[in-house]
Symmetry: C3
Subunit: 306 residues, 3 copies
Amino acid sequence: MIDGIAPIEASTPTSLSFLSNPLYRPQLATSVAACVIVSPAMRETAVARGACIITDDPYLYFARLTQWWKQAAGRGPVPGIHASAVVDPEAEVDPTATIGPLCVVERGARVGPGSWLKSRVTLGEDCHLGARCIVHAGVSIGADGFGFAMDRARHWEKIEQLGGVRIGDDVEIGANTCIDRGALGNTTIGQGVKIDNLVQIGHNVRIGDHSIIAGCVGIAGSAVIGRHCILSGGSAVLGHLTLADHVRLSARTMATRSIAKAGHYTGFYPLDDNAKWEKNAAVLKQLHKLRDRVRGLERDDPPAAG
Amino acid sequence: MIDGIAPIEASTPTSLSFLSNPLYRPQLATSVAACVIVSPAMRETAVARGACIITDDPYLYFARLTQWWKQAAGRGPVPGIHASAVVDPEAEVDPTATIGPLCVVERGARVGPGSWLKSRVTLGEDCHLGARCIVHAGVSIGADGFGFAMDRARHWEKIEQLGGVRIGDDVEIGANTCIDRGALGNTTIGQGVKIDNLVQIGHNVRIGDHSIIAGCVGIAGSAVIGRHCILSGGSAVLGHLTLADHVRLSARTMATRSIAKAGHYTGFYPLDDNAKWEKNAAVLKQLHKLRDRVRGLERDDPPAAG
Amino acid sequence: MIDGIAPIEASTPTSLSFLSNPLYRPQLATSVAACVIVSPAMRETAVARGACIITDDPYLYFARLTQWWKQAAGRGPVPGIHASAVVDPEAEVDPTATIGPLCVVERGARVGPGSWLKSRVTLGEDCHLGARCIVHAGVSIGADGFGFAMDRARHWEKIEQLGGVRIGDDVEIGANTCIDRGALGNTTIGQGVKIDNLVQIGHNVRIGDHSIIAGCVGIAGSAVIGRHCILSGGSAVLGHLTLADHVRLSARTMATRSIAKAGHYTGFYPLDDNAKWEKNAAVLKQLHKLRDRVRGLERDDPPAAG
């Protein structure tokens, strides 16, 4: 009898557990789990312990198990448009899609088959969402991009944002995230892109297929992100830059130039206790002078062969 | 006749003022306030000036005064469920709680006595909110945590988020903040925790009692924050880390390792004028080479006693 | 026959194009656009190419053209209050204003002539919005500022926020941005201020006329921002600071002190590949020791004149 799924380190006699993190291998032999999902490398220990499922990728197996579990628990969406949602008569919502409570779907917007707007989502005019997408609470798709020209009185004159948003299939968008419409063309999100909460995506941004954008990321207007990129939490990309496929930005790292080569890029200030930070930060503000002092010392050096 | 509360530096003849910031002490003697709230140390000056209230903690007295003032002005919540809110029949809302306009309370959610969802809040399935909580506009509680496994085609496969959110009593949550549900277990917010606007709290995070989280903070999945911590504006904590009780992060500081010891930690790039920043940042990118040059100079030094 | 507006580098035979970025000048002569908008400096090339509009500021001309285009396409607001919006009977909404679907306008709030709350906006009690403002989806105006006093049990006691928000004319506010009400006085946004998405503006902040605040900016309580300032994406201002008129903060830059002089200020960690960042960051954490080593070397130097 199994009544839940648990990581190996929190397993109970009625849980189905999985071992994907090698850190927890020592706990396999003594785990009380009803059944464990392990890789072939762990077969011997797992079989000696008791019931087990052996699979090449326990973490992926676990992912699919959670999907089956949720389905079995009757937690999936109920297709249709909630009575409290405001859907324009000129919007197109696939009959297999779900528009949750208090959503707004504007004129010319489209929602593809199986997609799910959870609650309080705005899908703006002429913004298209693909199939099997999940959009969490509070998301804004299709607000105006941020574009202004300065007039002679030094006031800001609005550039109306005439483009839309095109979102591929199998995209997930986290709570309170914003994706702006393009100025003239469209803002484009590729297939299978996963976006976390509180992310800002500016106008005319293009994000390649299967890239992943963690929480609190900011992507400025007209940036182009490649396929299979990873933008870690709080990272950022300045406007009009291009990131190649398979670029990974560390947390809090801001791309200030285009990146043509796949790889892992970083730029954040390291943590320290406050007193040490204060000392180091003070020197940092004079760093080029320190460099000049080192240069001076080098010039004054007696010749090494002397 | 008193018609308002004002800080001492902005007092009027009809205001009740308080002096908590010692910076403004010189203004006490000449303040025109109808009455002033001061600490015993200021008794003499205050009495000489006119009407006063003497209390050990003027700032705390002021806080309670604002509460009384708001109550007297009839600005408190009116318990009940607003007609425009969407509350699932299987949710439990205490009769003394207030569900404001256009909120969504899903199946299995619970709202404790005296709690107040202001407007446009989503409280997701199986998420529990304690007593006397205040939740501001646009908050999302219980969106899916951000969890995916990669399949063989290098696509992201969703890990359904089967846990909930547990929020203690006397918690306040700022506008457009997001608290994700746990993957298997719960995301947990302790008693008396205060959270500002636009904060991101990932799945399975645990925040200890009476900690305070300022605006724009990001806390990644499975991080554990102690009791009485202070996370200043824009700070961040990476996933799976643990912060001890009484840890304070400065603004914009990212905890990239667990912190076992109470104290004040910092890590942000200091402000400078742009030209100086450019010079210093260029040297910073070659800092380890500068260190090597200093090492070289040290090795070439003639012996001091020579 | 013209059916759209396009930048010169994406022009088609039926597009009206503009050339404001000198980078694209070489493309003018060969552009297939039906008509091009250029500055007098480009007159000769433009006339030789075909139809053109010559104006001192092509970008501003383009901005106004987008406005005319949007108007002509019938995409402007339809004044009135959407049936799904919740507007308090004691709120004042100008008859020429537009309150979009699922907005909340509380008691004592005011919306000036021609202003437009797009969808799912909360305008809180006693918050006033000027004329011709645009407020995008999910915005919160008037949530409580973040103020607490600590009591003797080390619990946080709420300071009720009794002030309001005052927003000038011609202000635009991006999706899911938050502007908190003042503690005692008001939070104040000047005329013509433009604010992007996911911005946090704390209680009692004052922003001067025609300043521009890009996405993901955080401004802490009681900060005062001058006129014509530019706060780039992800920048921040700590509480109680003052920024002079015409101050510009680079992206991700945090003002940690008041800035009395107009100019361009920066403070963010430069991007690098991860391996180099790791080496440099390690030295940065010992920077003051490196400085001491340089000092030591300088003291040991034989006199230059020796």
